[in-house]
Symmetry: C2
Subunit: 643 residues, 2 copies
């Protein structure tokens, strides 16, 4: 049965897919280490030895003085004693040497300079005898010719380079770097920097995949974009096969109308697996052509990165005779439950926060198209095929995407979103490169609940108490009664209706939201902005169900602005900066106080103090916030309530 | 007081030296991050951002279909139901779209292909209404223009490159790489590959230091070797200052006759510290000239590497706006006591072994000139200035020099040394790149005692029982009575006298060792070869005190051979391969059995089985051992005693 007849993707379990492909590669004689090449030792950092490095010469290769002093023949020193000093003739019996000097022929010991008394130009006196070879660095003391310096399949470090040079080598045999062709395919793809028209997709995957290959020690060759045409694709793959050890096609790996990758690979060789039961990343193609691995990976960036790691990285390591370094992992507590389909292995990005000694993992957006979710993720957890999900509070193993120490030095902010937090995060990293701010946007109330559960160091909050008219204080008393929480003002900010340029629907106030021609976009329950919306609707006795789009919820000001700019909605409540950022108009509604709520136990930590110092003292920061518009920074950094 | 007047090194404590220099650099305005440069995003892997990356465009920047199906206007779909299908005119009300296609203008939802029934070319039928924007990927769903992609001082990863491209950038601002000049000085230094004469020292340090700088993200410029002449050195440093951000001079940093480095730095600028109370690495010079750090580091390779890490690495990171990654550390149990001078901070290289779940740290040779000790070390422990040493059995914090997983995958062999073990270690890494063999040479008896203490997976042993004439079995019974230990033969080997070519002293047997003109080199107590020596001397009734050099002990066969080749001794007992390796002659004395003793709990582990498979089945291995001469491989891999 030829592959062409097969129309749909298979649903091969991950382990089985890896096994099938591993055996196919083995049968085809692929995957063993590439042959070696001879390169200068000085260029060998990070390369992998293709044969053992054996010492050609000893080091040192001559006896040398190990101390400043006089070289002597130990036999001449017999009998010297404090009570019976012995005199030696210079230079017949004693010769001045510095550390490192070769031992004069026939001399076999060194007496330290401090143990020698000069009697005259021609004579020195010693008070005790020398032992044979004392203070002499013997031939081969460090390296003996013929000894093993570094074994085969060893990743070369600076000290290995030194030892190879010291043992007489200037060249070294290392594995060739695997050459990997990365072929971006898709009629809709355009090169980065192109003038964009609707329907274009910037090809950023091939640069990402090339960089990932570089990280694995391979030499990537990024080819030009190939249109979705089988004949063209075939030509390019054939050409790439000639000059590469591995070919990656991205994408066209699914089974849609314009997905030719599988068909072309099948024509050129054989497809062993098409479709793996993982999420994201299902439409993977594992093939072999002309005795080389040819792999099609999906187009969504998160899928592309994940499948590269699962299927391509191990081959690149094997081609170099290297084992893949084990991924660094940590055990963390899952903050929210994760649902997953039975039978499918699922990989979920998480944010990590180290709060009061507990490591908390919070799942982030799952969309395979969400590149930023990968940029912002700290790690990945895998939900096995046999599982339907993981409950909140469970311990999970997280594969780290950032170094462990970075995660320990991250201020975790969960709560309401404000653009000022992005700016604060950047200033923190600018002033303290060792620190990061990670902010998750779950609304003001969600932030306070995260503090209650011990999942965050601080929460951004703007919760208006309907009865007292006061922001935040009452909510903190109510939701965090047992926790002393310091409330620090970040900004006062203007909330208003975001509308398209020129306000075409003429939105002036909440009354306009019930109009037949106005579509609203709301914020999620628990968001301070949502409370503000609900408060105004209540005051004006407007039934929320009469507001079109009331149930369309977004999680950030920017997402609300994006919904308006996109036409998905006509208006939504957000801060001025969000409108300005996307060139939208803004109809002010209210000024509100946006505070940082910080549990007392975190408040005094160096990390939080570094953050607060920026809030309180950094003029540049203050200026940048003001320049964004819609902010009043007069109270910035003031303690509203000491907790 | 000018520096020139100061003749001797100071003994500044490490923390104080770092503090003094840090403040001097700060006062001179050095150490902050270098300015940025604009480079293509595609070249930015591993570089550090010098300003925040802010999205220029949204991604996607147009609405697109998130499913294959039909784009519709949701308002046209009102009222559709299973019982009341609704028909839509193509292409007025419904337009076929594939995933990723831009949404046609005025269309605001997608109905999945499986939910659409084709009625005719001009009409499709649906059974339920669409909701607004269902299955549509909205503008900015991934990235919203103006949002922060990556902050300043961020080390760029592949996914960051993708996100920068996706958000409209093709160029990115990154910190310039610090340029570091590495100047090797020393009249005795020669370039690697030179024809060597006595007194030459191959300059390998500058290559090692350059590679270390590369690992820190800097661009090293290795200068030619400079003779020990103050005027020359001054010119070179002046020139290097013009084109570098940091200058390193190696060495001439001590206070000897030909040590000009400190003087020249003082002439060009100022020396802040000369001499730090650490071991190794004391003669360090921390200076500043023309507003640039100028650092002199000692010539011994271990000292050079250590002082680079202590004093130079932090500056290179700061120049890039990066924090130094925390060194990876493990807690291990010290197997032998370590003595150290009070007042001096000492850094000690250790080998690490993970045996039965215990991590054991064993100190290795301390000589600062012992490059191989650094090549073979797994980690470094620091003995604080306030301590006189650390007792055996204590828990110590070890800074790792090799990845953690490599240490976990290392077979630890402690005991007698045989060259066949080097070959075995190389074959193990060749066949199983994930595994390593670490062998420490403490003699046969030391090996059995290491097994007893649970510090090794196996021991190489050749202990002849004087009474039974049997090798090893009796010793294992005696020293490991409670431990089932499998004894596997590795080789039978010939022991004999190693003599210089042509046997000039005409050594024929043990009787010759008492001759006035013959100097012997012995093995350490507990070595099987030592037992053999002592047994023969006893049989021949020779008083060991009559053997010149009897008390000169070496730890390996190779060291014995090296002592002979060097003239330090005329002969010593060792195996043939050691003689052959160094082109020496050999006078056979006895054949002995060299076995591997393996405690039962390790015997069946995959790591040991991989090792034993090579011993038992690998023909290439067997061939290579045979080719070394002096070995009988007929029993290779046979179980001598099952324990």
């Amino acid at each position: 049965m030829s592959y062409k007849q097969k129309k749909f993707l298979s649903n091969t379990p991950l382990a089985e897919a890896l096994q099938i492909y591993h055996e196919a590669l083995k049968a085809a004689g692929i995957g063993g280490p590439l042959p070696g090449e001879r390169i200068p030792v000085s260029d060998a950092l990070g390369r992998v030895t293709s044969e053992a490095g054996i010492a050609k010469i000893s080091s040192p290769f001559y006896h040398s003085a190990a101390m400043d002093g006089f070289a002597v023949k130990f036999i001449d020193t017999f009998g010297a004693a404090e009570t019976r000093p012995k005199r030696l003739a210079v230079p017949v019996q004693a010769i001045a040497v510095d550390t490192g000097d070769p031992m004069p022929d026939g001399f076999d010991a060194v007496i330290m300079i401090e143990d020698v008394e000069k009697v005259s130009e021609g004579e020195v006196e010693i008070l005790k005898p020398a032992t044979p070879w004392q203070h002499v660095r013997l031939v081969g003391e460090d390296i003996v010719a013929t000894e093993l310096i570094i074994p085969e399949n060893h990743v070369i470090r600076p000290v290995d380079m030194a030892a190879m040079l010291a043992s007489g080598h200037t060249m070294i045999m290392v594995r060739k770097r695997p050459r990997i062709a990365v072929i971006p395919t898709g009629t809709e793809l355009v090169e980065p920097g192109s003038a964009l028209i609707k329907g274009d997709i910037i090809d950023f995957n091939s640069t990402m995949l090339s960089a990932m290959a570089t990280e694995c020690g391979a030499t990537p060759v990024r080819r030009s974009i190939v249109k979705d045409e089988a004949v063209l694709l075939r030509q390019i793959i054939q050409h790439a096969l000639l000059e590469s050890d591995l070919v990656v096609i991205n994408a066209g790996s699914s089974a849609g109308r314009e997905d030719f990758t599988a068909q072309v690979i099948a024509d050129l060789g054989k497809v062993y697996v098409h479709g793996v039961n993982i999420k994201p990343g299902k439409p993977v193609i594992l093939g072999i052509a002309q005795s080389k691995p040819v792999i099609g990976i999906p187009g969504y960036p998160v899928s592309a990165a994940l499948t590269f790691n699962l299927f391509i990285k191990p081959i690149l390591y094997a081609l170099q005779g290297r084992t893949m370094p084990e991924a660094e992992t940590v055990i963390a507590k899952l903050s929210r439950q994760v649902a997953s389909s039975l039978g499918q292995e699922e990989f979920i990005r998480v944010k990590l926060g180290s709060v009061s000694g507990n490591l908390i993992a919070t799942p982030v957006t799952r969309g395979a198209g969400a590149l930023m979710s990968l940029v912002r993720a700290d790690g990945i957890i895998s939900v096995p095929a046999a599982s339907e999900g993981i409950a909140a509070g469970h311990a999970v193993t997280v594969e780290l995407l950032r170094p462990r120490y970075e995660i320990a030095n991250t201020v975790v902010c969960i709560g309401s979103h404000d653009n000022a937090l992005d700016v604060l995060g950047n200033f923190l990293k600018k002033k303290h490169p060792e620190l990061s701010l990670s902010s998750a946007h779950v609304g003001s109330l969600g932030g306070l609940l995260a503090l209650k559960r011990g999942e965050a160091h601080l929460a951004g909050t703007h919760l208006l108490d309907e009865e007292t008219g006061e922001y935040n204080v009452g909510y903190i008393k109510k939701y965090l009664p047992e926790q002393k929480t310091v409330l620090v003002n970040l900004v006062y900010r203007t909330q208003g209706f975001i509308v398209r340029s020129g306000n075409p629907k003429n939105v002036r106030g909440f009354e306009d939201l019930v109009r037949e021609d106005v579509v609203f976009v709301n914020r999620q329950a628990g968001a301070g902005t949502r409370l503000l919306t609900d408060l105004y609707l209540k005051r004006l006795r407007i039934d929320p169900n009469r507001v079109k789009g009331y149930h369309h919820e977004e999680f950030t000001h920017m997402a609300v602005a994006a919904a308006v700019v996109s036409g998905a909605a006509d208006t939504g409540l957000a801060v001025l900066s969000a409108a300005q950022a996307l060139g939208l108009d803004f109809v002010p509604v209210a000024q509100e106080r946006y505070d940082l709520a910080i549990p007392e136990q975190h408040y005094a930590t160096p990390m939080l103090q570094a953050l607060l110092q920026i809030v309180r003292e950094d003029r540049e920061f203050r200026k940048q916030i003001e320049s964004m518009g819609g902010y009043d920074v007069s109270g910035m950094g003031k303690v509203i309530s000491p907790g």
